[in-house]
């Protein structure tokens, strides 16, 4: 990376703010130097297409490559000269061989994200192998045991931030469960002209460096005018006492990022063609280093058919939030000859990635305005102002849950097998179905400590909410200068679409909507529960789990063959996308026989979430937050033996 840092200073072109946000037209790998410059205009829309490599033998070359997304030339880390890296198309059941040659002058690696494989093939330096030294070739070989949409990226330094990521599409051995006529990868990412080491250093020196949505005096004045001094004081009191910002949504923002869709800047916009009446499958992959995106296609409903590569019961939505490293496959059916905008706005509304689905490459659709900048609130955090009195400074008291809003919803989803939002209004007697004792006896999500007698007479919507509050304990290691808050009443918020998406008038996907399309194979009850807390100090920019950073942590031990429940408690104000390598995370969204399988699970601020894991892969695995500037500390080795 040090080499990169010097090279990143290649040109000191001055770049306007607008160029940062929009990027420049025809931005990307600099033509003439590109290995794929000959194919630059192969795409009907006259744009460089990302190459697709098929088969079971692949030669991948990691290089430095000149790119220009903002008007300034920088060096990116690329595979076969391409950013994003080529799409790899595999077939389930085949053995693939990937010879990866590192032409950088620093070590590199490729991790196959979400792929079930032997640990030695997982590509995490220091855990699964030694990494790929400069000039060396490492041969990955493994049998493909799954199908769907995945991706691959460097697991060395900050190379992923500088471009080393690509899509993996695996065709199923058997027939696809969903019919579609066209198939596009839509890979989202965030590009910065800055050296990632500098970004990290800046965050350590001034954690809100990139936040230009801070609350100002005029916001305060407006709030006082609309709510009065007392109410305003009360609503600000907690943030002021906590010394935190309610506008702290993203650590790194559009101030430095240009958001890309399939490597295209918003000024270019990726283009996908369709013919009227076709069913188009869009494979959304969030390969950003730090950015969550809220994705919608105004005018089109999206039917979500897969999450993290795994088929789910189809659910029709207007919008979904995609956490870093997650994937969602959707099907859209444009029934006319108009163009549609693929609009992926950053969670903090500091910019967007953009594409167009169009029957005619020259026709574009209107670009919607960015939504208002979201602000974290007490309710958003599952807090109740009245309980803030007992809060200690430096710590954070999440008060009682806000019963009126989301908690009932979360609970309904928790206890109702097979329910999905689209059926919620159907008079199908869901209460009685959902309340079957069988489902409740299982240690499902929020029901763990529920009083069964009181529940059996109560409908889910009227059940006493305190039963949902499971006392939380914080490890002694969570106390100290390295941890700035602890959630005292973290709640399950599966049906909470998240900050900035609540009550926006659109049907937004939530985790509560996700149900495995097939019955899960391992139906054993977990033999034990491992509770891990996601911790940090925002202003010192330190991240950890249970208050212990990776460098100081012992590996997490799993017994081969055991089924465990992992419960994550988010003691911070950020969303953390937690990625367990090598094994599926069966997310507890409702029906315990249909838990959706995920590789990356977003834990919302101040929330709790549980998933079940079958430790069926021996060896050492990485387990971490996928935000690149968090993962150095918020990381564990998992050892299955």
């Amino acid at each position: 990376m040090r080499k990169t840092s010097s090279l990143l200073q290649l040109e000191n072109a001055s770049v306007s703010r607008r160029q940062f946000v929009q990027g420049i037209a025809m931005g990307g790998v600099v033509a003439g130097l590109s290995l794929r410059s000959s194919q630059l205009f192969a795409n009907p829309s006259d744009q460089p297409a990302v190459a697709t490599l098929r088969g079971n033998q692949f030669d991948l070359s990691i290089d430095q490559q000149r790119v220009n997304f903002t008007g300034a030339t920088r060096f990116a880390t690329t595979v076969n000269g391409s950013l994003p890296a080529p799409i790899l198309r595999w077939r389930e059941g085949e053995e693939v061989t990937l010879r990866v040659t590192n032409h950088l002058d620093v070590p590199s690696s490729i991790h196959w994200h979400g792929i079930i494989l032997p640990t030695a093939m997982d590509g995490v330096p220091g855990i699964s192998f030694a990494g790929i030294a400069p000039g060396e070739t490492f041969t990955y070989r493994f049998r493909v045991q799954q199908s769907g949409t995945y991706w691959y990226h460097s697991h060395s330094g900050f190379q992923e931030q500088t471009g080393l990521y690509g899509a993996i599409v695996i065709d199923p051995k058997d027939k696809e469960p969903s019919h579609y006529d066209r198939d596009y990868v839509v890979q989202l990412s965030d590009w910065s002209d800055e050296d990632p080491d500098d970004v990290y250093a800046k965050l350590k020196k001034l954690s809100h460096y990139y936040n230009f949505n801070e609350r100002t005096a005029s916001d305060l004045w407006q709030e006082i005018q609309s709510k009065g001094v007392v109410q305003t004081w009360q609503s600000r009191q907690m943030w002021n006492q906590m010394r935190m910002s309610d506008s702290d949504i993203s650590d790194v923002t559009g101030y430095t990022y240009t958001f890309l869709m399939n490597g295209q800047t918003p000024a270019d916009g990726w283009v996908g063609l369709f013919r009227k009446g076709e069913r188009v499958r869009l494979r959304f992959i969030n390969s950003a280093a730090m950015t969550f995106f809220d994705v919608r296609i105004p005018g089109l409903k999206m039917t979500v058919i897969a999450s993290d590569g795994q088929d789910v019961e189809p659910v029709s939505v207007d919008e979904f939030r995609i956490g870093v490293a997650e994937t969602f496959d959707v099907i859209v059916e444009p029934n006319d000859d108009s163009a549609y905008t693929l609009f992926a706005q950053a969670i903090d509304r500091s910019g967007y990635a953009l594409g167009t689905l169009t029957p005619d490459a020259t026709v574009r659709a209107e670009i919607p305005a960015l939504d208002p900048v979201p602000v974290l609130g007490h309710g958003n955090m599952g807090m109740d102002i009245s309980s803030m009195a007992g809060m200690d400074h430096g710590a954070m008291g999440h008060g009682a849950m806000d019963h009126a809003s989301m908690e009932h919803g979360a609970m309904e989803m928790g206890v109702m097998p097979g329910m999905d939002h689209s059926k919620i209004s159907a008079p199908s007697g869901m209460q009685t179905q959902g309340m079957s004792m069988d489902g409740m006896n299982r240690p499902g999500m929020s029901m763990t400590e529920m009083d069964m007698t009181s529940m059996s007479n109560a409908s889910p919507t009227t059940a006493s909410s305190p039963a949902l509050i499971r006392p939380v304990q914080h490890a002694p290691t969570e106390y100290g200068p390295h941890v700035d808050m602890r959630a005292d009443n973290p709640s399950y918020r599966l049906d909470d679409p998240g900050v900035g998406l609540r009550n926006n008038g659109r049907r937004v996907l939530t985790y509560a909507d996700l149900m495995n399309r097939y019955p899960i194979l391992d139906t054993r009850e977990p033999s034990r529960e491992i509770e891990l807390h996601l911790t940090g100090n925002m202003s010192r920019y330190m991240w950890s789990m249970n208050g212990v950073k990776f460098a100081d942590a012992e590996p997490l031990q799993l017994k081969y063959g055991e089924r465990v429940r992992i419960t994550l408690v988010n003691d911070t104000m950020m969303n953390h996308p937690m990625h367990l390598h090598g094994m599926w995370s069966d997310l507890e969204t409702g029906d315990l026989s249909r838990l959706p399988r995920k590789h990356t699970v977003v834990v919302q601020p101040g929330a709790r979430i549980s998933y079940q894991v079958t430790a069926d892969a021996r060896g050492d695995w990485a387990y971490h937050c996928h935000l690149i500037y968090h993962m150095l500390g918020m990381f564990r080795q998992v050892t299955v033996s």
Binding site: G157, K202, K205, N240, V483
Partner: protein, 238 residues
């Protein structure tokens, strides 16, 4: 003592220039970093010659442990009239607080004075930046200083920042013209524009007043005990 001083100044000046090459090893969650903070570098508009005043700090270290250097001084007509340097070991003791201990040298005006320092620096509830320190010197001397600053974001780039500094002295030091008790109060209000986060020119007003015994000593010398000035300067860090 002189030798230590030279070493420290050398360290302050030379270390940062050496750092970029080796500080940022990738994959290191807690890299060794440095920050130079030009908190104030300003001209003050007075009736007489306009002094240039600075308040420049820096640190070198990791997340929880740092070496801090704090300097402040005043130059008039190209001659440094006031200069003090602190070298402190800083350790994080709470999420928003660092305990800082070390040595303070008041070089100018003469005669110079040395002090042992212990203090806390951090962010108080309601987002007040606070630096409070106790000083213990030779011959039974003691002193205390409290600095507090608040930032009001007028917009994302215009920041209004009131601040206050109080100095206390345990026993009079007539050689340096300061008496026991509260020696002086300084209140400032600065409006800066952050062209970048790292660079913000500002204008402001600064009002300072000598108090109690110190004021008496100044009056006896025929000096003013109170001054209000317009200031123009730059705030920067890297």
């Amino acid at each position: 003592m002189m030798k230590i001083k030279i070493t420290l100044i050398t360290t302050t000046l030379i270390v940062p220039s050496l750092i970029p090459g080796w500080v940022l090893a990738s994959g290191e969650d807690d890299p060794l970093l440095y920050k130079v903070i030009v908190d104030q570098l300003e001209y003050r508009d007075t009736d007489g010659p306009n002094p240039m005043v600075w308040n420049i700090d820096g640190w070198l270290g990791k997340d929880l442990n740092k070496l801090w250097i704090k300097t402040e001084g005043e130059r008039i007509n190209g001659i440094t009239e006031e200069l003090e340097v602190q070298a402190l070991y800083s350790r994080a003791i709470a999420p928003f607080w660092d305990l800082q201990a070390g040595w303070r040298h008041e070089n100018l005006p003469k005669p110079d004075r040395d002090w042992a320092v212990v203090g806390v620096k951090g962010l108080a509830p309601y987002l007040f930046e606070v630096d409070a320190a106790l000083f213990v010197g030779e011959s039974g001397r003691s002193a205390a200083r409290l600095e507090a600053e608040y930032e009001i974001m007028l917009t994302q780039r215009w920041v209004l920042s009131p601040e206050i500094e109080l100095n206390l002295l345990g026993k009079s030091d007539p050689e340096r013209g300061v008496g026991s008790g509260l020696t002086d109060i300084e209140v400032g209000l600065r409006l800066r524009y952050e062209i970048r986060r790292e660079f913000a020119p500002y204008i402001g007003i600064n009002w300072s007043k000598l108090t109690s015994d110190t004021a008496d000593l100044a009056r006896a010398e025929g000096e003013k005990t109170e001054a209000g000035q317009f200031v123009v300067g730059v705030r920067a860090w890297f």
